[in-house]
């Protein structure tokens, strides 16, 4: 039974993962935190918290609210900054078996490029996930991801700055996702992550004002799964680069749906916040499914429901 695969077949060096189960950015800290709870070395890859050129404090409290089967977050990209990441985290990652992909964000194409340049060649950094889809920052983030041209500009800038495998994480908010997907693939993306959170709002009815000081927030969790699945299906048909499915995945069955819709790998996010073992349980469930159905290679499932 084969679970391993090359996540970025179009990239000269490739990036071989032991299996298609990854963590989603912002839901496993810098990997170290999740590593204190479960055996992360068994996973396909770790995608760390979004990182920016300078450290960010993020948004004021409160930062999370629960919705039916969902989670609204307004973290605001709190992070230690790329220099501290290279100094304190990358050396740890370099000793891990599981590859670490660094999620990056910025307020301008230049900032993205600079973060990517500094990560280039750093031992312990296996790839970059370009977050052009964060709804929780005042500038940049999602704005880049909504339109093909700005999205392609950011990706091209990052592509010039590094030879690392590049994943580009797309937003469903106000975007024609297949069009953005085609543009960033052309600009040098080796794979696409579909998708980031969906914009949402909560109101504090006692105080008659928005619940979050930053007003808007990103919705994640089981509530968004069918939406993410639909976008994966659409994007996978629009581009030839691999698609990594993300959004509400909490079980092996969820993961199978994403694979069959056209994803070559999946990321587990909010589910890990509820149950830190979730990524391992998804992996074990996938293994059990392959065994039970006598499927030799997980790649046989990719796009199985999208072939028609």
């Amino acid at each position: 039974m084969t679970l391993s695969f090359n996540l970025v077949p179009g990239h000269p060096g490739g990036l071989w993962l032991a299996n298609p189960v990854l963590t989603a950015s912002g839901t496993c800290g810098y990997g170290v935190e999740l590593g204190e709870i479960i055996d992360i070395q068994r996973l396909g890859a770790i995608v760390c918290k979004g990182i920016t050129l300078h450290p960010r404090e993020g948004n004021p409290q409160p930062r999370v609210a629960e919705t039916p089967a969902g989670l609204l977050n307004s973290i605001g990209l709190q992070n230690i900054g790329v220099e501290a990441l290279i100094r304190d985290m990358a050396p740890l990652w370099a000793s891990w078996r599981v590859p670490v992909i660094v999620n990056i964000a910025g307020e301008s194409a230049r900032e993205y490029r600079e973060v990517a340049r500094r990560l280039d060649g750093v031992p312990g950094v296996a790839g970059i996930e370009v977050n052009i889809s964060c709804p929780n920052v005042a500038q940049g983030g999602m704005e880049f991801g909504a339109k093909p041209r700005p999205a392609a500009r950011v990706v091209a800038a990052v592509r010039k700055a590094t030879g690392l495998p590049l994943l580009v994480k797309l937003t469903p908010n106000g975007a024609d996702m297949p069009a953005v997907a085609r543009a960033v693939a052309e600009a040098g993306a080796d794979a696409l992550t579909v998708m980031n959170t969906i914009l949402g709002l909560a109101i504090d009815t006692t105080q008659r004002k928005p619940f979050f000081p930053a007003v808007k927030a990103g919705l994640s969790g089981p509530a968004i799964k069918p939406i993410a699945l639909y976008h994966v299906y659409e994007v996978a048909r629009a581009v030839s680069v691999p698609v990594v499915g993300c959004g509400g995945i909490a079980s092996a069955t969820d993961a199978l749906e994403f694979l069959m819709a056209g994803a070559t790998a999946v990321q587990v996010g909010t589910a890990t916040l509820v149950n830190p073992k979730a990524p391992l349980e998804v992996l074990e469930g996938l293994e059990a499914y392959l065994k039970q159905k006598n499927i030799a290679d997980v790649r046989e499932l990719v796009g199985a429901a999208a072939k028609a």
């Binding site: 404090e57 909010t270 916040l273």
Partner: protein, 262 residues
Amino acid sequence: MEVIDARVLSREELLPELFFIWLEAPTIAREARPGQFLMVSCGVHKDPLLRRPLCVSRLAPMGNGQTPDRLALLFSVRGRGSLSLGQCQTGDCLSILGPLGKPFRLERASRKVVLVAGGTGLSPLGGLAEEAVRQGKEVTLLLGVESATKMFPPRVIPQGVRLEVASMDGSMGHKGLVTELLAAHLAGADQCFAVGPLGMYKTLARIRPSLPPVPIQISLETRMACGTGLCFACSVPTRQGLRLSCKDGPVFALDEVLWDRL
């Protein structure tokens, strides 16, 4: 830290919407210290989705042993999660994750400690009081309730402590805020531990200069998603920069937190 299915050994509704639940949880109870907390699943089929943070209120052995293998939750109903948690029955299993966070730092050398509980702030302080009494310390518990009808029944008041009550309506003990009792009791104490709503901490921070300089530890109730340091939802501003309530706390020194930014 572990995720386990803990069996409900007993469930009591102490007062309307106030629950006291004992769980069989040997692996967690063994490790837990007063001030640490659990993330508790409150629903079936992931609804509500998130676990709720609740303090480990008491620790005790099941039989005659020394090592604790059961633990108690003490909580009031605030919304959907706590409402459904209160409806559990003896024999049910609850998925719990813990122990989490940093415990209270109770110094061996402290001889006299003062505990200040605002309402269900009694939850973690109950266990701390028992520990302090076991260590032979002199323990004063200042307990604030809304009124005599909201007073906790004697069996959840830790034994061997000197108890002073304050009620908002004056129907029991001192009339007013529990923090108003503090000035009279803090002199001569080595440590103070206070747990209650945010407003209580802000009051404490404000009256701090007028109080004897006894170190005060508090436990913060910050909204959390994971409780395990993964999501950065529960950041709080401190003099040392941002700290995570779930990993670096929930226990903090009162003077460490930047209260005007919370």
